[in-house]
Amino acid sequence: MKKRRMFIRMITASLMRRRSRMVVALLSVAIGATILSGLVSIYYDVPRQMGAEFRNYGANMIFTASDGEMSLSDVEAAASKISDEQLVGLAPFRYENVRINDIPVVASGTVPEGVKATSPYWKVEGNWFTKSGELMVGANVAESFRIKAGDMIEVTYTPTEEDGTEAELDNSVFFTVTGIIETGGPEEDYIYMTLEDLATLTETDGRIDVAELSVSATSDELADYVSGISAGSAAVSASLVKRVTASEATVLTKLQALVLLVTIVVLALTMICVATTMTAVVAERRKEIGLRKAIGASDKSIIEEFMGEGMLLGLFGGILGSVLGYLFAQQVSLNVFSSSIVFRPLLVPITVIASIAVTGISSLMPIRSATEVDPALVLKGE
């Protein structure tokens, strides 16, 4: 019991008395631990955060009617199989041929909030349509009809019967153009209005041609969802937008590999830095070791004490480093992705154990060589 108290006292006294040196050593251990916990947090969070960025590419899953027709409730029922956190957006579309000034145009009925979420890359000059009586037109349509935001246009719907004659139905509705869409894709040739307006115009409702979904999930999860939804719903067949999912997987894997390699390189180098610092700290105490040996301390007790000291440093440095590392990762995440990082409790013990191990191992070698020295020689100053 007494021995242990003496041991603790010697360690704490040595740490306290040589305060400035120990602060320096502690700092270097803490930096190593910060880098470890910070980079590992970032490494694990990159796929999630970057995955969210990749959702800028638009929908990665589409629903189409498997047989006959699907309705909005079919689509919503199928989409409910995807967890809320992963479902970034759902935009149902229904397409009809309508006429503006007797020239045919494709009109699409949709939900503006859904499109905003699934296709964040749409550039709208003016405003998004929000309610009935409003519509947005594609840039090409706007150019050919000389439409600008704020105009009123008349949209007519005259279905063509199968025998080619025009049907009796001849609805026309006035709309306010709220905005012009620029995407550089086929969307520029369509006009967009709410599902309700399209239903009023065509006097039929309920049908959805295609639904676009933006799902933030790994490629395996996506494949599971697709097979699950296609099997579970009679009306809806789900498929992946290969172009988006395949490319996302490639780029994400590369990015994660990049962060991993960088982490390993940085970590290896900081570990060596910590080790050299510890070596320097122990080496300058050769005289003390000699003195202790001269008054009868065994090699074992000296090694134990120095190791205890080093490990204590590792412990404090590790704890300090976990906190700083988390803060650092949080800052990076806020700055880069503007969202906070997930705290991983497991990382704290890992960081602490790693820093204890590194400081322990790196002080072991110089202590060993120090204990081999003849006390008389060291004390004499040679």
Binding site: E53, Y57, S247, V265, N335
Partner: protein, 430 residues
């Protein structure tokens, strides 16, 4: 005398100096590795993002407005086409180096034996092209449609001698409908000619292409009697993320001041590349595909920012590590310095000697570290992106300044301690 003392320290205390040099080398290698990777990561990720396909499309001027509207009704094209022989000019614009890939497309339709109509697209697969500049380029949908999954057979090999003109690739849905497989022949009748197409591969594109047939461009031109005509060109270019200036310029280049115009044309914005493509291809409209161009910009920015922050952290780590060691090693020598002071050395000369020593050590360590770091960067580049990380000249001065500054700052506390040091106390052993 001064030189001799320095030489003496470096030769006699080489072990200690080696350790400092080693730490500095580690720090310098970390700095140069991270800087090299950071400066190159933009280009590398940009290359990876090319898997999303083209980010610029070029269509004929008249076509861009009306054709696609009328196509809805099933009528054919309006007769406006781009010229195939002008394609090479895309590689002659100012930003030619940024253009990774481009491929022409010609949509046409043909009738099958059973009377049904199929959509046929003429394109390049792995077209070999001699450029006016004397270089050559292999371009085509093999690289531009990298997400296509080959279900059966192989990619059409255009460069193979012989009968590649009669080969075709077919979408998985259409193949299923027609009941064809790789190796079978399909008789198609176009507007001007008939052909027996040999199916060499079946692809799954996960989109509308699954119901189309892709054939070499010249074969499609012969089918539709549209020699030298192209409907659309897709261009894949390395671009800089758009900003306010580029958006204004895209709308109306004449609204810019001379200085802004210069910045705009000299930056690889998608809009300025589009503008230059329009200048070399007659009657064309080039527009960025926002879905790709926008997201690329966002992802690129995030990746670069992430790397910058990681680099800064590791640089701070390296700097503190070096500082620590330099301070520790100088403090250790208090007795020796006390002796020098006791026999009459001035503070200035002791400091000067110390700094010179450390400077030489850091120079050696820094040089070794720089090359080691560049090696690390190569390892990272090779394993992650399968291509070498290019050496940016600006890394050299940055690392040099960093190493010197860090070691000098690291010796400040040591120097301050030395000047305050009293020889008697130190020599007495206190």
């Amino acid at each position: 005398m001064f030189l001799r003392m320095i030489k003496g320290i470096l030769t006699r205390q080489w072990k200690k100096m080696l350790m400092i040099a080693f730490t500095i080398a580690l720090g310098a290698s970390l700095a140069s590795a991270m800087l090299s990777v950071m400066l190159d990561v933009g280009d590398k990720v940009n290359q990876e993002l090319k898997t999303y396909g083209a980010n610029i499309t070029v269509v004929p001027k008249e076509n861009s407005v009306l054709n696609e509207l009328y196509e809805v009704e099933g009528s054919g094209g309006t007769g406006a086409y781009l010229k195939e022989d002008e394609l090479g000019k895309i590689k002659t614009i100012f930003w030619a180096f940024n253009i990774v890939d481009f491929t022409p497309f010609l949509d046409t339709s043909a009738t099958l034996d059973d009377g049904s109509e199929v959509q046929i697209v003429g394109s390049w697969f792995d077209h070999h092209m001699e450029l006016p500049t004397g270089e050559s380029l292999d371009a085509g949908i093999v690289s531009l449609r990298s997400w296509w999954e080959l279900k059966e057979g192989s990619w059409l090999d255009e460069q193979r001698d012989g009968d590649s003109a009669d080969c075709a690739m077919i979408g998985v849905k259409l193949a299923e409908k027609l009941g064809v497989s790789a190796g079978s022949t399909l008789h198609v009748k176009g507007a001007a000619a008939e052909k027996d197409l040999k199916i060499v591969g079946i692809y799954d594109a996960g989109g509308s292409e699954d119901e189309q047939i892709y054939i070499p461009l010249n074969t499609a031109q012969a089918l539709a009697d549209l020699d030298g005509c192209v409907d659309k060109i897709e261009v894949s270019a390395l671009t800089t993320p758009e900003n306010e200036l580029s958006e204004r310029a895209a709308k109306d280049p004449s609204s810019l001041t001379v200085a802004q115009m210069e910045t705009w044309t000299c930056t690889a914005y998608a809009s300025s590349i589009c503008y230059q493509i329009q200048e070399v291809i007659t009657d064309s409209v080039a527009s960025p595909v926002r879905q790709v161009a926008d997201s690329e910009g966002a992802i690129l920015e995030k990746t670069q920012l992430l790397m910058i922050l990681i680099t800064v952290l590791s640089l701070i780590g390296a700097a503190l590590g070096i500082c620590n060691l330099v301070t520790a090693s100088v403090m250790e020598r208090s007795q020796e310095i006390g002796l020098m002071k006791a026999i009459g050395a001035q503070n200035v000369s002791v400091t000067l000697m110390l700094l010179t020593e450390i400077f030489i050590t850091s120079l050696v360590g820094g040089t070794v570290g720089f090359f080691a770091g560049f090696g690390f960067a190569q390892i990272i580049g090779r394993t992650v992106f399968c291509s070498a990380v290019s050496l940016k000249p600006m890394v050299v001065p940055i690392v040099a300044v960093l190493v010197v500054a860090v070691t000098m700052i690291g010796s400040i506390p040591a120097v301050r301690m030395l000047t305050r040091l009293r020889p008697t106390e130190v020599l007495h052993g206190r």
